[in-house]
C-alpha cells in the first residue's frame, strides 16, 4: 500500500462527491437564522433580568396570556404562584381547559400511545393545580395526546411538604373501585415535579390520593425511568396548531438508538415534502435533543418525527404536529 495509492483512492472518492446546487441560499438562510437567534438571545437575557424584577407582580396581576394554544417557550421568571394564591378558592375550576383570568405557563404531561408527552401550556394559576387539572383532563394542544384518568376526574387539592421534598395530589370524581394504572399516576408525578422544578423546588416524589385515600399506596411515588415512561420521541416545537414564519426552528427530543431520528414534512395533500435524518445530541438510553431549521413556503403542513426500528426497519415513535406556515 503506497502513499500514491492512497492519494489516488482519496482523489477518486472525492471526485464522486456531488454538491447541492442551492447550497449558497441555504447557507444565507442559516446565517440569517443564526443572527436572529443571537439577537433573540441578547434580548432574552435582558427580558430575563426584567422578569426577575417584575416576576412577582406579573403573577399577581396576571401574566399576558400566551393563549391556550402553542407556546413553545418555557416559562422564565414566572415567580412562585403557589405562594401568591390569587385563585385558590375552595373549589378550583377543573372544567376550564383554557387559561383563567390569571394564567401561567407550565409544563404539562399527557398520555399517548402508552407513553408520556409534554407540552408547555397556559394554565390557571397556581401552576401545580392548573397543570394537574390540565393533565387529568387531557386538554392538550395536540389531539393525539390525552389522559389515563377517566372523565369526571377532578383535582381536590395539591400540597407540598417542602422539608421532605414530597408533593401530594388529591383527586375526586372517580368511579367507585377505579384503580389508576402506573402511567396515569406518572402523568401526575411528572407534571407536579416538572412544575415545581421550574419554580426551583426539587420534589422527589408525589403522593396521589382519591378522596383522601392513597393510590396506589401511602408511599410517595418517584418519577419512573424516562426510558420506560416518556415517548421515545417528542416534537417539542412548533406545537400542534402553531403558526410559524417561513423559516423556523424545529425542536425535538428523544431517546433512540444511535441518536438517529428522522423529521418528515408533509404538505396539505399529505405528500412528503422532505424527509431528513436528524441526529440528536445523545443516543439511548440518554435523552438527546436537536434543533433543525426548516424553510417552507406558506401553507399547511404536518411535521412528523419518528425513528426507524433497528430490528425490522419499521417506523416507530411517530409524533406529528399540524402547523401553518405563513
Amino acid at each position: 500500500m503506497s502513499e500514491q495509492r492512497l492519494r489516488a483512492a482519496f482523489e477518486q472518492r472525492a471526485a464522486r462527491v456531488s454538491v447541492a446546487p442551492d447550497a449558497l441560499p441555504v447557507i444565507r438562510d442559516k446565517v440569517r437564522q443564526a443572527t436572529r437567534r443571537r439577537r433573540r438571545t441578547a434580548v432574552g437575557v435582558g427580558a430575563l433580568a426584567t422578569a426577575a424584577l417584575v416576576g412577582l407582580t406579573a403573577v399577581l396581576v396576571g401574566l399576558p396570556s400566551p393563549g391556550p394554544g402553542p407556546n413553545p417557550s418555557p416559562p422564565v421568571g414566572s415567580g412562585q404562584p403557589s405562594t401568591v394564591e390569587p385563585n385558590r378558592s375552595p373549589s378550583p375550576n377543573p372544567s376550564r381547559p383554557g387559561p383563567g383570568p390569571t394564567t401561567v405557563t407550565a409544563p404539562v404531561y399527557f398520555s399517548g400511545a402508552d407513553r408520556l408527552f409534554r407540552e408547555y401550556l397556559a394554565v390557571a394559576a397556581p401552576a401545580p393545580d392548573g397543570a394537574i387539572e390540565r393533565s387529568i383532563g387531557g386538554h392538550a394542544a395536540d389531539p393525539d395526546y390525552g389522559t389515563r384518568w377517566p372523565s369526571g376526574t377532578r383535582l381536590r387539592s395539591t400540597s407540598l411538604d417542602a422539608a421532605a421534598g414530597v408533593g401530594s395530589v388529591d383527586l375526586t370524581g372517580l368511579p367507585a373501585g377505579f384503580t389508576p394504572d402506573p402511567l396515569a399516576v406518572q402523568q401526575l408525578v411528572y407534571t407536579y415535579t416538572a412544575v415545581m422544578a421550574d419554580q426551583g423546588t426539587q420534589v422527589s416524589g408525589v403522593r396521589v390520593s382519591v378522596d383522601g385515600v392513597p393510590v396506589p399506596g401511602p408511599q410517595p411515588v418517584p418519577r419512573a425511568s424516562t426510558v420506560d415512561t416518556l415517548a421515545p420521541l417528542w416534537l417539542i416545537s412548533p406545537q400542534h396548531g402553531a403558526t410559524v414564519g417561513t423559516t423556523f426552528d424545529v425542536h425535538l427530543a428523544g431517546s433512540v438508538f444511535e441518536a438517529a431520528s428522522r423529521l418528515r414534512v408533509r404538505d396539505a395533500a399529505g405528500a412528503v415534502v422532505r424527509d431528513d435524518p436528524v441526529l440528536l445530541s445523545a443516543g439511548a438510553p440518554a435523552r438527546g435533543e436537536a434543533h433543525v431549521q426548516l424553510t417552507l413556503a406558506p401553507g399547511s403542513y404536518t411535521l412528523e418525527v419518528y425513528f426507524v426500528s433497528q430490528r425490522d426497519g419499521s417506523e416507530q415513535g411517530l409524533d406529528d404536529h399540524a402547523i401553518t406556515v405563513s
Partner: protein, 171 residues
C-alpha cells in the same frame, strides 16, 4: 481595489463559497464515515465563518478556519456515532467473495482501501486525509487538527502501518 479585508461577512461567504464549498464537502466526505452529513456540516462551517469574519479578514486564514471547522465538526459527529459505527462495521463486513474480473478487482482494491481508512480511529484518518488528500504539510495538518506536528507524524505513521496490515491480511 478588491481588498478582502474590506469584504463584508456576506461577501466573504459568497466569495469563499465559490472556490471552497465543493472541496470542503469532499474533505468532509472523506473524514466522515457516513457522507450524508458532509454538506450540512460544511454549510455550518460557512455560517461560523460569517460570524467570525470580523476577526479573520483574510481569505487564507479563512480557508484554514473553514478546514478546521469542518474537521472539528466531523470529529464531533463521529464521536456521537462511535458506538453505532462499531456496530455497523461488524454488521457490514463484506464476505470474501473472489471476483472474476481484473477490472472489478482494481475497483475492489480501491473500495477495500477506503473501507480500511474508514475503519481507522478518527484522528488517524484525519491525518491521512489532510496529508494525502489536501496535500497539507505536517505543520498545516497540525494546525487544522489542533495538535502538535509530532502528533501528526505519529498518527500518520500508525495509520499507514494499520492500513498495510489490514490490506495485507485481506489479500
Amino acid at each position: 481595489l478588491d481588498d478582502p479585508a474590506a469584504w463584508s461577512a456576506d461577501e466573504a461567504v459568497g466569495r469563499l463559497f465559490a472556490t471552497q464549498y465543493r472541496p470542503l464537502v469532499r474533505l468532509a466526505t472523506l473524514l466522515l464515515r457516513d457522507p450524508g452529513q458532509a454538506e450540512e456540516l460544511t454549510q455550518d462551517a460557512f455560517v461560523a465563518l460569517h460570524q467570525h469574519w470580523g476577526r479573520l479578514r483574510d481569505p487564507e486564514r479563512a480557508v484554514a478556519y473553514l478546514r478546521q471547522s469542518v474537521a472539528n465538526r466531523a470529529r464531533s459527529v463521529l464521536r456521537h456515532r462511535g458506538v453505532v459505527d462499531r456496530f455497523l462495521r461488524r454488521a457490514t463486513e463484506p464476505a470474501s467473495v473472489p471476483s472474476a474480473e481484473a477490472g472489478a478487482l482494481a475497483a475492489q482494491g480501491d473500495a477495500e482501501l477506503l473501507a480500511a481508512v474508514r475503519a481507522l480511529p478518527a484522528r488517524q484518518r484525519e491525518a491521512l486525509v489532510l496529508r494525502y488528500y489536501l496535500d497539507l504539510s505536517e505543520a498545516q495538518t497540525a494546525e487544522v487538527m489542533g495538535v502538535s506536528a509530532g502528533a501528526v507524524k505519529s498518527h500518520t505513521s500508525r495509520a499507514l502501518v494499520a492500513l498495510r496490515r489490514e490490506l495485507g491480511e485481506s489479500r
